[in-house]
Symmetry: C2
Amino acid sequence: MTNAQLMTVSAFARICGITAKTLRWYADIGLFRPAFIDPRTRYRYYAWDQVRDFARLRAIRACGASLTEIRRELNVRRSAPELKRFMQKLRTAKLRSIDEARRSLAWLEGELQNLETASPFHATITYCPPVRIASLRADLKHYSDVHAHERLLWESVASRSDSRMRGVLWHRCADRGVIDSEPFIELGEHSRCAAGLQPKELQGVHVARTFSSLDDDEAEQSHVSLSRWIRERGYRLSGPRREIYRGMLLEIQHPLHPG
Amino acid sequence: MTNAQLMTVSAFARICGITAKTLRWYADIGLFRPAFIDPRTRYRYYAWDQVRDFARLRAIRACGASLTEIRRELNVRRSAPELKRFMQKLRTAKLRSIDEARRSLAWLEGELQNLETASPFHATITYCPPVRIASLRADLKHYSDVHAHERLLWESVASRSDSRMRGVLWHRCADRGVIDSEPFIELGEHSRCAAGLQPKELQGVHVARTFSSLDDDEAEQSHVSLSRWIRERGYRLSGPRREIYRGMLLEIQHPLHPG
DNA sequence: TAAACAGTGACGGCGCGTGAGCGTTT
DNA sequence: TAAACGCTCACGCGCCGTCACTGTTT
């Protein structure tokens, strides 16, 4: 058998660096069939040149395609443009997952540093999906004025038992020495915006986030720490900072520049 | 309920950007339990400050830890060094997976280019685990002398029906104008090496691989193409090239420098 | 004849998604 | 009373790993 063109499952498996079980599975689902099956014993036999085809299959698999997708793309007759679109889809997905992986890595390294220095500061990076909001923007002189401004919006719009997400977008205008503050409240899917308020889309974005108590001083300190955390990891702020009220906690988000 | 400290599964799920089912699952396996369960209705209620804990849990999860591992590390009392070792393990795994992902990406982009130029050349990158081999090294003048050299080894060592992997390691010594050729044959786990031959470990390494016919000219051309393929992707050759006989096909491997 | 293979079939495991059927809250 | 939400239980999925039992090849 060795010098003939065919070999058994386990021989083929060893060459391909995979288990015989996997080969049987691929054959069963019609993804990769042996060159010959003995009708009497049902033994599967593979041809030498199938090694090359199998290598390609595994390469595509390693790119993140599911077995079903691969079968679609390879078994049925697909045109070159179709194949190209498929590969491009895999490519963008791969790029995204590498991005994700790098964020996780950065987080891990931060946590390891934290363990060294016994620092109590924790932050994570999360994707925040887009949300429709109603908001009310104003320039304020002092951080402490923000609370009054918030109440202005919420009392006009929502009842006390309203569970929609609420918070504030803000940034400091260095040149004008003013706080640009924009309290907001989430809008339901189809709910109308209250009179005098503009509905607005809070764009989906990755944020660095941490949590603080509701105390103004601690919140401000958290903002400072989070800014530093972001800088140290080579990210850049993009857009106004966000504070979201989570019961007795304040969630602090700094949107990150893509890339 | 809104202004109290507790909220229902779906409210908590929305805030955390996850489904209620996942939360129930985490509770069931004892990974993340709600702050309170109503003993009558069995409704789960979560506290606001659990949002922070959950964010951390998901960050660890995103780093590649399994739910079981996370439970081990977070539920039971673990010392700081233990936690650190765990994080470091996650870090090295993450680094490896990013590496893998980048290789896949490079392959994809190559295939996309191939589609553009309708080039028939295909290569993949694969990890080859270490193998014990017996080999016989010599300097040869011509590529065509290699075959005689091969026979020398194999006829002395193996029978015809021997299915062990066999091939040649070689590189061109530019300064001496000579081909350093080293035919090899795989050794079984505990099999002894034939007389006069040194047993040797072919180290585990990532290789760029392609396939060619057994024809010398085509093989040489494949080596050239593969070298270019490697250069274009920013990899570097590390160690002698490998040719492995796969029946009627020749598998050509160029070991890659780690990193 | 024994060892090393081949086959099929059933079950497990992760991390949930999906849905049925039923109770609870608003 | 209806709608929206909660509960449990059961099954499914992708991709195999791991038996157990039986037949085949060397």
